[in-house]
Symmetry: C2
Subunit: 339 residues, 2 copies
């Protein structure tokens, strides 16, 4: 009889697992915080030997500044959307990252910027691609979401819309930095010599936030790939590839070799695994980045924030500028692996 009871218990346990596996159950990893925010500043080949203490500090300080600004909004009952936009604008305005000021140059020597923005409450989304005159592309993406019937606007059409929305329009020279210009010249030189160029993939920025109302928002902004072909669009402005947010699962922002992220619909794939397979954010993000993408040579990483406030930040490169902040705690920022 005792054996019988034990076996019945096992049966009930297994039946429970069936439901958890096949349905929408997630396992909280931490006690749910009132809010949370996570940012990235791009993944890529990063050798600690190439970072002076000053350079490392500059990157970490800027990530912390973005997290603190977003965190302040969330602490004061602001929305996840406001926090994401505010944090990304700080990273766009910094020449350190490949977004906004300091974006990389395409093969024709022009800064072509992409950005996307998504509201996890309504599943509304907006994106701009290949724009060259909008100071803060993340704000343009949000305006497309809020004030146009469309999700994606590109090039002059997007710029015309941004101007109508009173966003700041700048001369394309605003985005210029010597560093990025020199990277383009090096990339062209390597192309001539048919050498593999590992320097051209890092610097995209992104942010995901969860606010006190349980709303999740996500955004991504980039200058794309140094020496990219004229008119190329990567994953950053593609909803489902570079950005996704859904209050019922998670928010995601991606960075890396965009073509692989589009083909594998990376951001939505992570949300779908959480929703449909009951995987945790960590398991889903790790499997996509360190197995699925790594096996096919797709380098990069993601930041994920689920509805419980759990954070995952996997990457399959040697480094990713990244950080997160919870209420009442200092921002935690890192660059290289195992920090």
């Amino acid at each position: 009889m005792k054996n019988l009871i034990v076996l019945i218990s096992i049966c009930i346990f297994l039946a429970g697992c069936t439901n958890q596996q096949g349905e929408t159950t997630e396992i909280p990893q931490v006690e749910k915080p009132a809010w949370a925010i996570v940012v990235h500043g791009g993944a890529g080949v990063m050798n600690p030997a190439n970072f002076t203490d000053e350079k490392e500090k500059a990157y970490k300080d800027k990530l912390a500044e973005a997290l603190t600004a977003g965190g302040k909004i969330l602490e004061n009952n602001g929305s996840a959307m406001d926090a994401v936009e505010s944090a990304i604008r700080i990273l766009e305005d910094s020449p350190l990252f490949n977004a906004g000021k300091g974006a990389v140059f395409n093969a024709e020597g022009v800064n072509e910027l992409d950005a996307s923005f998504m509201d996890g409450l309504t599943l509304n989304a907006g994106a701009v691609a290949n724009v060259t005159k909008i100071k803060n592309p993340i704000s343009a993406a949000r305006k497309v979401m809020e004030n146009s019937p469309h999700v994606m606007l590109i090039k002059e059409g997007a710029e015309q819309f941004a101007a109508e929305q009173n966003l700041e329009i700048v001369d394309t020279e605003y985005f210029y930095t010597d560093d990025r210009w020199n990277s383009l010249q090096k990339a062209k030189e390597r192309e001539k010599q048919r050498l593999k160029d590992e320097t051209k993939k890092s610097g995209t920025v992104g942010c995901v936030a969860l606010d006190k109302n349980g709303n999740i928002a996500a955004g991504t902004s980039t200058g794309g790939m140094t020496n990219k072909k004229y008119g190329r669009v990567g994953d950053s402005p593609i909803i489902g590839a570079g950005t996704y947010a859904d209050n019922n699962s998670c928010g995601v922002s991606a960075t890396g070799h965009g073509e692989f992220f589009i083909r594998n619909v990376v951001a939505y794939d992570i949300a779908a695994r959480i929703k449909y397979k009951g995987e945790t954010a960590e398991v889903a993000a790790n499997d996509v980045i360190n197995n699925k993408l790594k096996e096919i040579g797709g380098s990069g990483g993601v930041i994920v924030l689920d509805k419980y406030g759990n954070i995952a930040m996997p990457f399959n490169t040697t480094g990713m500028f990244r950080g997160y902040k919870y209420p009442g705690k200092a921002p935690v920022v890192s660059i290289f692996q195992k920090q």
Copy 2:
């Protein structure tokens, strides 16, 4: 002891179900055919009263022609990719559909075309958006996939690439038809009067094929939305939204109000449900189109072809130009509901 054995059996059965629910199991609906092909020519408001017999016949004949051409390639051991490209080129060249010749006009009176293409074997993909001079955008999307390191090229960059690839470049006037021009004038008139315009969403074309080697390919081509804002990109050129193909699950091509399809990552969501929840193509496609999208006002439909040759063609509008063909059978084509 007998009780014990029964209970152990129940436990094993339940554990088995867990695996089937959470993993990649699909239930074949038909005996697997040697090959299969399915096409659509757009979903929208379609009233049989507005279709003369001649008009209905013209649409059905053209869908059958595309299916027959693709089917011939598949019968002769050709690839799913060749079948998809060939079928879509026929629909692009016909002024009946909103793709290639006969595409709709944007708000500025220009035909801006989008297309995408995906190979389910390699998960390679290509797309072009907002092109105005490429005669067959589906072929340009395939060339981006095969001969560029990128997935998505837009506007002049895409046109420059297509010309380098020796694709046929035409004067933008080639795409002109009186019908579509008149639709734009009507749309503008309705806009002025702030009337809801239901006429602007139909006509995108798409195709999915499964070849004798078990490879799936999918493609979609469109002129977008009549009177759309300059620079707007819909779901058709977005991998994961308008098009997806994976030999391990299914191929999908979508048509409808693109913004809703992007926000819900429709094509990949159907593949993810088959892969992660073990849903059949029919259950997955129906739920996405007739529940998820319908509830939020997202009108349109999809064609889905899974790795077993099962076909689903759900739509939540009054009609969708659609059809399929199996080996040794005549093409089956329909337009309205319940035919």
